[in-house]
């Protein structure tokens, strides 16, 4: 325990260094979907597990945005819930500012709760419909005893509302009197009210109109610059990710298939799955180009395919892909890729440059 408290107090010292604010090591979450014991005995069925997140390694530097992308059901939202502590991890570590949160007792989590907040996906469900907006935003203030006294609390709530582009008088209203975009602003005001360092944003704009999305995203970027926030941004919308991110991680069936600097991933995606995703982004320059549509569906995660979990949909799949699960291998430009076809079957880096382009042509050729 003493080690925990020392590292917590030394946060100011480490913040100056290049150490990432958040780093996930081998983070895993397994859900037990087994029927009750009695049913298992009668129906003679075994236990069944869902590996929602499987050995995730991610570093998020201070003041930067790391985006997780992937199709529905790939475990993105589970990662968000693991990081903020809504789910307990089944394995691995979540290091936040030098402290492993997974080993922390609930009572010791207090200060980290204040420093890690979350913006939710559904602006209609994330605000309690029976509460006034000022009470919603003041809840973290009260829970963490940030303000003393009602007057100070009201001032702070007014300031936060104005910070996210609403007016201080809006605090008297109820959530249903606001539009989706305004509600998401309220949600953001609540998230930053406890003065967090780290915000987990679980698809914060996917429930909004396109015109409103950009306003909310701009607000989030402004706040990041102003407050020095670090974001874990979760989305399935690559255009949004491109706009927001410094780093990108692509997830497939609970595993990271490719991760690295956003620019690099968007310019030269290597993993066949990342390429398929990139091809779905509408772009004026791509208008007349043949596209490889993402075909097939995500396999049932309870019974994932053997080997690389992408192999049933992969245009480059070979025998080794069906037998052996690829590990993440460091590549040129700071990215990591988990693909036998890209990195070479033996797991070595293969031929840099040549191998980097070849699979793309192959993928196109197949289509």
């Amino acid at each position: 325990m003493s080690a925990v408290s020392t590292s917590a107090t030394s946060s100011a010292a480490t913040s100056a260094s290049g150490e990432p604010l958040v780093s996930l090591r081998g983070l895993s979450k397994t859900f037990d979907l087994s029927p009750p014991l009695l049913n298992r005995m009668i129906e003679r069925k075994g236990k069944s597990f869902l590996r929602a997140v499987d050995g995730l390694d991610i570093d998020i530097p201070r003041g930067k945005t790391f985006s997780l992308v992937g199709e529905s059901g790939c475990g993105k939202s589970t990662v968000a819930k693991l990081v903020v502590g809504l789910h307990a991890a089944s394995g691995g570590k979540i290091r936040f500012d030098g402290t492993d949160l997974t080993g922390l007792h609930a009572s010791a989590r207090g200060t980290y709760r204040q420093r890690i907040q979350m913006i939710f996906q559904d602006p209609y469900a994330s605000l309690n419909p029976r509460w006034r907006v000022r009470d919603i935003i003041a809840e973290p203030l009260r829970s963490f005893s940030i303000t003393s006294g009602r007057a100070e609390e009201q001032r702070e709530v007014g300031r936060l509302l104005e910070m996210v582009g609403l007016s201080a008088q809006d605090g008297d209203k109820f959530p249903h009197q606001f539009s989706g975009g305004q509600r998401q602003r309220i949600s953001i005001a609540r998230a930053i009210s406890s003065k967090p360092d780290f915000l987990v944003c679980d698809e914060p704009t996917s429930a909004l109109d396109v015109s409103v999305q950009s306003q909310v995203l701009n607000l989030m970027r402004d706040l990041q610059a102003e407050l020095g926030l670090t974001y874990l941004f979760i989305s399935h919308d690559l255009a949004v990710v491109d706009f927001m991110s410094d780093y990108v991680g692509v997830m497939y069936l609970g595993r990271l298939v490719e991760a690295g600097p956003a620019q690099r991933i968007f310019e030269a995606p290597e993993h066949p799955y990342t390429r398929l995703l990139m091809d779905t982004v509408p772009d004026i320059t791509m208008a007349r180009r043949d596209r490889v549509a993402v075909t097939g569906e995500v396999p049932n995660p309870i019974t994932p395919p053997p080997g690389c979990s992408f192999n049933p949909r992969c245009p480059l799949a070979s025998d080794i892909c069906r037998a052996q699960s690829p590990d993440l291998v460091a590549r040129e430009g700071g990215t990591r890729v988990a693909c036998h076809a890209v990195t070479g079957a033996d797991g070595s880096s293969g031929r840099p440059g040549a191998a980097g382009r070849a699979p793309m042509e192959l993928a196109r050729g197949v289509a």
Binding site: K81, V84, G85, L86, R109, G110, R113, Q114, I116, Q117, M118, F120, Q121, D122, A125, S126, L127, N128, P129, R130, W131, E139, P140, S143, F144, Q154, D172, R190, S194
Partner: protein
């Protein structure tokens, strides 16, 4: 600040609300509300508005017994709805009787609601063993007919308590019997709504800032599950009054010395065929009017709070 103008704006908000509009435009509901209000007010004010005190034996006179209502030949203007075989004023007995019926109804509904809400919230939120424990108890309760359980409870109470306490404890026994049989409905309803609310993001947000489960249950979830509870409570109020009347009619409820509407009907029933119809008809009409009016209010509330019917 804005807090001072709050009460007025709240009244204005109620007058402008959809629910009030639905109330205002439904004549049946308005009539039901007026009837309920009249009976409740009359019962509350019974000691001041009743023409006689039916419990004051010294004012009773056998000369006045079995007088018909005032509009029937031989009626006495002192006794508007006539008198019973001991010379008690039927109108006064009804006023005092509905007092007891309503008291039993309101208290048992309030108790059942509190127990049901707490059990439902805890079961729905925590799930697992806690949930299984409470819900199996609820299943057992549901497998008995309400009247049977009520009869059982009052039978046990009668056996356990000394004879002289029977009458004084009758009210408590009735309330207990009705509460025990009706809390399950609230618990089930609240549990299922809680299970839905528990997965909503506003609950996650509250968990994230470290709110304790009790604070989340009562400050966040409870206000969002109260709608259906209020509907059940209204309909159950009518049901509780009926159960009380049934038990009293069967002779295991309120004693004739402190009669509720049900007791009045039972006592009057014995004289029905001797031509003294007013002793049983008027308490029965009061009971019918009260239960019908409360039920209509409950129906309206259910429709008004149901978003699908808006």
């Amino acid at each position: 600040m804005a807090l001072e103008v709050f009460p007025q704006s709240r009244i204005a908000a109620i007058l402008k609300s959809d629910i009030f509009y639905r109330f205002r435009t439904s004549y049946v509901t308005v009539a039901a509300a007026i009837v309920t209000l009249c009976i409740v007010m009359a019962a509350l004010l019974a000691p001041w508005i009743a023409p006689h005190d039916p419990f004051d034996v010294s004012t009773l006179s056998l000369w006045d017994s079995e007088l018909p209502p005032v509009w029937v030949e031989g009626g006495d203007p002192r006794f508007l709805l006539g008198t019973d075989n001991q010379g008690r004023d039927v109108l006064s007995a009804i006023l005092y009787g509905s007092r007891i019926s309503l008291a039993v109804g309101f208290v048992s509904v309030a108790l059942a609601m509190v127990i049901g809400i707490v059990v439902g919230l805890v079961s729905g939120y925590f799930g697992g063993m806690v949930d299984a424990f409470f819900m199996r108890i609820a299943d057992v309760m549901l497998s008995f007919p309400t009247i049977l359980v009520a009869l059982l409870v009052s039978g046990i109470a009668r056996g356990a308590l000394p004879r002289e306490m029977h009458d004084s404890a009758a009210l408590i026994v009735l309330v207990f019997a009705i509460t025990v049989t009706t809390w399950v409905q609230y618990a089930r309803t609240v549990r299922s709504s809680t299970m839905v609310e528990r997965g909503r993001e506003y609950v996650f947000a509250a968990q994230l800032v470290g709110r304790r489960p009790l604070a989340i249950l009562f400050r966040h979830i409870l206000p969002n599950v109260m709608g259906p509870v209020l509907v059940i409570a209204t309909i159950n109020l009518a049901m509780a009054i009926l159960i009380e009347a049934t038990l009293s009619f069967l002779g295991v409820g309120m004693p004739p010395t402190n009669p509720s509407l049900g007791t009045l009907i039972r006592v009057g029933n014995e004289y029905l065929f001797s031509g003294i119809w007013w002793v049983v008809i008027f308490p029965s009409l009061t009971l019918v009017a009260l239960v019908l009016a409360v039920n209509l209010l409950g129906d309206w509330l259910r429709d008004a709070l149901n978003p699908k019917l808006r």
